[in-house]
Amino acid sequence: MVVAPLDVKRTDELRSLLATMNSAPGTADPNNALIPFGQLEELHFARIVVLEDQTLDDITTAYGLPRRNYPLSLAFLADFDGDADRFRRKMVALAGNGLQKIFSYCSDFKPGTDLVNWMKQHEHPNATMYNNWIGRSMQQIREESALSQELECYFGNGSQYQNTSPEEVRRGAQQFVAQKLKDGSLTLTALGKAPLSWQLKNLANLIFVPLVLLFFTPLFLLYLPIFVIQLRRREKSDMEIAPRPAAAHVNSLARLEDYGVTNQFTAMGSLKPGLFRRWLLVILLWLIEYTTRHIYTRGHLARVPSIHFARWVFIDDKQRLVFCSNYDGSLESYMDDFINKVAFGLNVVFSNGIGYPRTNWLFFQGAKDEQKFKYFIRRHELPTEVWYNGHAGLTNYDLLRNARIRSGLEQGSMTNAEAGQWLELL
């Protein structure tokens, strides 16, 4: 995530400029003149947001501390396949002028600056990154989506295959696809493996984190009673700030939502003051990052299958946290997932933020206080000025189904039962 301070006086002008990139409110035109996202084949999602925190007075309300005036910043983030440096260079080559124009509103950007370097300097690392299916590339998504569409046309309404055995039907489909592959109207590039360097790094992380944990376990056990006291004392006294958000704020967010089946979400807030919350959150996000890297890599984050990409990023010397996600469905169903499926996960992270609904032993209550939680979330949410979705119209479930259609098609032979199961996908 690129974060850079903005020239406050020109923010409205920047917002107008960003709006020219959109075809519907908040939805980027893939061929917009500034950054034609659609031409970056490896790009899943991108967004540009003015990080205008509405909740800076909360620290005074809750803790009587003076308001901290952070610089108003612009954030640019992208979820893409492959190496970051390569992506930056490619984007700059494609949309250098547009990027210059956008970043010229940043107070430390000088015209003609080397964009690749400048973006790299302003890069903020993810504290936690989540990807619904690690290794599923845009190329794979595009090819498999085209395949399912072709098969859909091929099978029509399905009635003419009622009296043919499933395996025979599948074989027919195989021949049809083979022909399409031959004449070039379909392609199915062999699924690539992750580069060796990435695999090694991942393996090192897989081993390193438990080792560190093991090493610190005795210390942690000694510290545990104190931790419990520290946590409970804070949980009982920390103030909740979750008033109903202003209608105008809610409308400014709602007007950007529900143009397709997937939506964006950007929110930010300040950490509760003091080292306890700061370190607790750093460690928790580090642990969660371990689970998203090694455990929740195949289609669901705990019980939630609807999130494509999500990330938590610290800014301003870890005094504030930004959360961004891309999810299937409407906000109300996203909130439903949060509250009914992963309340514990939200609690452990966001309860370190000022004003979060009261938690109980870190994991419990919190988000389960439905109304307060929804108010809290909406109040901390920011309008995402520009949002690009490289596979608009496809949910995570669609992507999974398409991949299963492809792998079933590529299988040599199947029993009729297996072939029948495969046909049910179509």
């Binding site: 399905g158 709602a254 019980r303 179509l426």
Partner: protein, 490 residues
């Protein structure tokens, strides 16, 4: 024993007034405030108390946000009602998009409820067929014409328990926990048809064990002394207690188009036509579900033989949608699932499931738990009946419109009505479906029926069968709040 004073609750929350076969729903604007206040103060609304013998007529009164404004209900009280109620069903493009009110369904095309012409009140009169003139005259009294300007009088008709397409309607309703017996601690592992009172009546705890936000008043403020205290904050008066939100939508149904499509698609045999229509609805025309009944009892369902046959079921035994298609109307509107898609037994299993390590099917967890999204339905049909056979005859000139005045009651419009409408009925991705919304209400052109070990059967070129003709969000107050509204601004 109920925790609720039934004399304070409008009867519609508890009863459908099913024995009163006719109803007029007046949508009015206030033209003389004093007269309107007097009429409202004197209005003898039918309450939720059981009467013996049952009343022969019933009167219910509900307010829009505009209505409260017109009656000079103080702004800070008005604005403390649900945001959806405050902004209304029409006039917000984001909401229309979410509800699927697009194209011909867009509020700009509505007959009533457009943002420039929102009724102040819905005054609902129920009575016996043939006795409506008298019923109406009695309820209206002398000052009616001075007090109100009538925008619409929505008439209803009794088609013999069926809705215009010919399907038995209103079979499944949540069982409201009036007594507060339902104890909700954490996740609910089985589907229950008993639902917390707070989901349908404001001022009581809901399925989250919380109280839905609502206007609470200082006891010293004007007129507040007549109101009941808030159960969760006894030092405050609860303006919304014993009230609820009433969602009304006029849905025109193209009965000829519906049966014509079935005949064109399913072939000559009327039985095939019927089966296709039944697959879209998810029940037979007589009301039986397409999946077999559960062997184990379901809380709040199956109180008699008929209810056991028609309501004691879930879709747990039909994970592939082979018996009842995923896209069928009743499977969307009420998926009958519990908080977990799979069986949970014991604390360890609960933890494993919570962490997402017990997922079995790829459709697991695509859906929200049903219990947070229930509605009490109180709709009424309108227009003349038309049998499926007659529906295939050529259209007559100047046909009379027919359809449903859809009415539902809920305490949280966003989480209940709007969620069911947007995330379940109109969504093209409900439960992993690819491109189809509700076959009856939706705007997409496909409906698919999964087949065991085979390709799903797809119906294409599905026309639009239902068109939204009007709609609004109302607040159906308690009797005490009704008096408060009538007097607070005078």
């Amino acid at each position: 024993m109920s925790q609720v004073d039934f004399d304070d609750v409008q009867g519609l929350v508890r009863f459908g007034f099913g024995d009163m076969h006719r109803a007029y729903f007046y949508l009015v604007r206030i033209q003389d405030k004093a007269a309107a206040r007097a009429w409202l103060s004197a209005a003898h609304v039918t309450t939720a108390r059981t009467l013996k013998p049952p009343p022969e007529t019933a009167l219910q009164v509900a307010f829009t946000y505009e209505g409260l404004k017109e009656l000079d209900v103080p702004g800070e009280m008005r604005d403390a009602f649900a945001p959806e109620f405050c902004s209304g069903m029409s006039g917000d493009e984001s909401r229309s998009r979410r509800l699927g009110d697009l194209g011909t369904n867009h509020p700009d095309n509505w007959r009533w409820g457009r943002s420039d012409d929102i009724p102040h009140l819905a005054i609902m009169m129920y009575g016996e067929e043939g006795a409506m003139d008298q019923c109406e005259a009695e309820f209206k009294g002398a000052s009616w014409d001075i007090a109100f300007k009538v925008l619409e009088r929505l008439d209803t008709s009794y088609l013999g328990k069926v809705e215009p397409f010919g399907f038995v309607d209103g079979i499944s309703q949540p069982t409201v926990d009036w007594e507060g017996k339902r104890k909700i601690h954490g996740d609910q592992l089985t589907y229950s048809n008993v639902v917390a009172l707070g989901e349908f009546v404001l001022g009581y705890s809901n399925e989250y064990n919380e109280y839905t936000d609502r206007p609470l008043l200082d006891p010293s403020s004007r007129g507040a002394s007549e109101l009941l205290p808030a159960l969760d904050q006894p030092q405050k008066k609860d303006l919304a207690r014993n009230g609820t939100y009433l969602v009304m939508r006029q849905l025109e149904q193209d009965v000829r188009g519906f049966w014509q499509y079935m005949a064109d698609t399913a072939g000559k045999d009327p039985e095939d036509s019927k089966r296709l229509a039944e697959a879209m609805v998810g029940r037979t025309m007589e009301g039986a579900p397409l999946v077999p009944p559960e062997k184990y009892p379901i809380d709040g369902a199956g109180h008699d033989e008929e209810d056991r046959a028609y309501n004691q079921f879930t879709y747990d035994g039909d994970p592939d949608g082979v018996r009842c298609p995923f896209g069928a109307h009743i499977r969307r509107a009420n998926p009958r699932n519990a908080d977990f898609p799979t069986r949970v037994k014991g604390a360890i299993s609960h933890l494993i499931h919570t962490l997402g390590f017990a997922r079995k099917g790829s459709r697991d967890d695509l859906m929200s738990p049903t219990r947070f999204h229930r509605l009490i339905r109180r709709g009424r049909e309108y227009g003349p009946g038309l049998s499926p056979t007659d529906a295939l005859q050529p259209r007559t000139p100047n046909p009379r419109e027919r359809g449903l005045h859809f009415i539902c009651l809920n305490a949280n419009i966003a989480r209940q009505f709007e969620f069911v409408q947007g995330a379940w009925l109109m969504s093209t991705k409900f439960n992993g479906l690819g491109e189809e919304s509700d076959p009856m209400l939706g705007l997409t052109k496909t409906f698919s029926r999964p087949r065991e070990n085979g390709l799903r059967e797809r119906c294409n070129n599905l026309p639009q069968f239902v068109t939204v003709r009007g709609g609004a969000y109302f607040f159906l107050p308690s009797v005490r709040a009704l008096r408060y509204f009538a007097t607070v601004g005078s």
